[in-house]
């Protein structure tokens, strides 16, 4: 089953909380959903009463979010006579006839001072009862974010898991030889350029509070690590030591980063405070140690090392000490990322000539190949652990894709403006 969902962005939708970032011109993202969960929840989201607002229809955004998760079947509502916006207007029989299990309705009112009030209800069609009811008093620029929040509420109520539609992603785009580090909503809308350069930018990493990005830029003709505030746009040089400075990864408390330096000789892992002080070497090998990734409890650092003769994933205590090998299947396992619950390790596995996203259960060591693409890089867990965002290649161009942690749901996201790569999924927006 293939559903194609085409979304064209509104270029001028400036995100107010990111006022200092520049809205990006290359803003068209297409999301293609392949496959889905074995059982999808049928839901009807009735277009919200919104007056003559020029803004996007809240129900469209909710429907797109729920569809993209692969866990919902968003039903076509236009053929139904009953178009309720409030609880009293609902005729459940018509929605039961459509075989909807849940019904979402709502309306948007303009308040004094140009603010908006968004009212939303989620109803159980079978039990004919209300599951959720909520009001949001918002600035006009927050309507899209509010729609994502409503989708998150629906998702959480009906699946029992935390929704991540209101989260953000970052990635690097390359257009006509110019690199741009961008942040966008999880659905690809509102892309904003954080920094751009004629030299490569790689390895963006979100701070746990979502307020800062660490990244590696080659603008000084060598890899240097920067940390940049997304609120003020200001940045500091985190590490510019002799040799390469790369692979930043934030500790879960946001106070430190694990980084990789070739300061002494070969690539080794160090920790450094978020203000660039307190450098401490963590690994001591004569081989490549790189791509550190913290466990969510902050106790372990997973990393890639070729100490066995080919790259495999190891872990060491965040305080240093001996490393234990974690991956054993195949001769090339790289780019570890630990799931938010600490149970799964996502990484890239090479089998033959194919580089694919794999996940390994850390307790059992059981590994599963998740993606069906062939040149995959940089897996990054969603903040709820359900999806894994990664970079792949299509027709010689970099593109982003996502796969669910069980391999059932697959999405492709492509920025039509150029090459995209190096995705990182940020934390939830509060």
């Amino acid at each position: 089953m293939i559903k194609l969902l085409k979304i064209v962005s509104t270029l001028l939708a400036a995100c107010l909380t990111l006022g200092l970032l520049s809205p990006s011109a290359q803003a068209e993202l297409t999301i293609e959903i392949v496959g889905g969960a074995a059982q999808q929840i049928p839901i009807a989201v009735v277009p919200f009463a919104q007056g003559t607002s020029q803004q996007a229809q809240v129900a469209d955004i909710i429907n797109a979010d729920l569809r993209r998760s692969g866990l919902f079947r968003a039903l076509e509502t236009r053929g139904v006579a009953n178009q309720p916006h409030d609880a009293a207007e609902v005729r459940f029989a018509e929605w039961a006839a459509l075989q909807a299990q849940a019904l979402a309705i709502g309306h948007v009112e303009t308040l004094q001072g140009n603010r908006l009030k968004v009212t939303f209800r989620l109803l159980d069609v079978v039990k004919q009862s209300q599951l959720l009811g909520q009001e949001f008093n918002i600035a006009p620029g927050q309507l899209r974010l509010t729609a994502h929040r409503i989708a998150d509420l629906i998702y959480q109520k009906l699946t029992g898991e935390i929704g991540v539609f209101a989260s953000r992603i970052s990635y690097v785009s390359k257009i006509k030889g110019r690199y741009a580090l961008q942040v966008a909503d999880a659905d690809g809308f509102n892309p904003q350029t954080v920094v751009s350069s004629g030299e490569p930018i790689i390895s963006p990493a979100w701070s746990p509070d979502g307020g800062q990005l660490a990244y590696v830029s080659f603008e000084k003709k060598k890899p240097v690590i920067y940390v940049q505030s997304l609120i003020s746009g200001r940045r500091i040089v985190l590490a510019n030591f002799k040799g390469n400075n790369s692979a930043p990864s934030w500790s879960p408390d946001g106070r430190k980063l694990a980084i990789v330096l070739t300061y002494a000789a070969n690539s080794q892992i160090y920790t450094i405070n978020a203000d660039g002080t307190g450098l401490k070497q963590l690994t001591y090998s004569s081989t490549i140690d790189t791509e550190p990734a913290w466990s969510p409890d902050g106790k372990w650092i997973y990393f890639t090392s070729d100490r066995s003769g080919n790259p495999q994933i190891y872990r060491t205590s965040a305080l240093g000490g001996d490393a234990q090998r974690v991956t054993f299947s195949g001769s090339y396992n790289v780019s570890p990322d630990v799931s938010p619950d600490g149970k799964l390790l996502a990484f890239i596995n090479r089998e033959g000539g194919s580089f694919r996203v794999a996940a390994q259960e850390l307790s059992s060591g059981q590994m599963q190949i998740l993606s069906d693409t062939a040149q995959d890089e940089s897996p990054s867990f969603a903040p709820n652990g359900r999806m894994i965002l990664y970079a792949t290649s299509k027709g010689g161009k970099g593109t982003l894709a996502a796969v669910s942690a069980d391999g059932r749901v697959k999405q492709r996201l492509s920025d039509t403006g150029g090459d995209v790569r190096e995705p990182a999924w940020g934390s939830l927006v509060n």
Partner: protein
């Protein structure tokens, strides 16, 4: 017309640097004009010859730029996920070692590169290992660290649309760059 010639010579040199095949088919350019002898240098320098340097350059070609000299070979190629300098590249590296020993003021940057498959960060580390591997061969011949800088661009300069191994193999290399060239 000179500019055109310089461009084609530059292109030939670049192509030569990207290939492990012999460069003997290159057109002979060294005795055409003073400008062509300096083809690898910035074009404006060659266009502004004033001193007696011009008359000398036709007879003493810069060995680093002479396509008939092994020093014009600047690339060492590696196997997938490997950073050992293969014996077939020892003559090239040894020639640069000899040059550096004879020219103590000369400095080189060794830039490691990878093909574009796999992890960017791992490839950055691997590219560094490749540049360091070449440095160690230079060190064996007695070249001091102060004449050598090692850097890595990982897979950032690699072809992005390789369809076969021949193409990938072109990207797995360490390049020798002399200071000011």
């Amino acid at each position: 017309m000179n500019k055109h010639l310089i461009g084609s010579v530059l292109l030939s040199l670049l192509l030569g640097a990207c290939s492990s095949s012999p460069i003997k088919d290159l057109p002979k350019v060294e005795d055409k004009s003073p400008a062509s002898a300096n083809a690898g240098v910035a074009p404006e320098a060659s266009g502004a010859q004033t001193s007696g340097q011009a008359s000398d350059s036709s007879s003493s070609v810069n060995p680093l730029k002479d396509p008939n000299n092994i020093l014009s070979k600047r690339s060492v190629y590696f196997d997938f996920d490997k950073y050992e300098v293969k014996s077939e590249y020892r003559p090239v590296v040894d020639a640069h070692a000899k040059y550096l020993l004879e020219h103590p003021a000369a400095k080189v940057t060794l830039q490691g590169n990878c093909d574009d498959r796999g992890s960017r960060e791992y490839n950055l580390a691997l590219g560094q290992r490749r540049s360091v591997a070449v440095k160690k061969v230079l060190n064996l011949s007695g070249v001091q660290d102060k004449q050598i800088e090692t850097v890595s661009y990982g897979e950032e300069k690699a072809h992005t649309n390789c369809a076969d191994e021949t193409c990938f193999a072109q990207d797995r290399r360490a390049d020798v760059f002399y200071e000011n060239e």
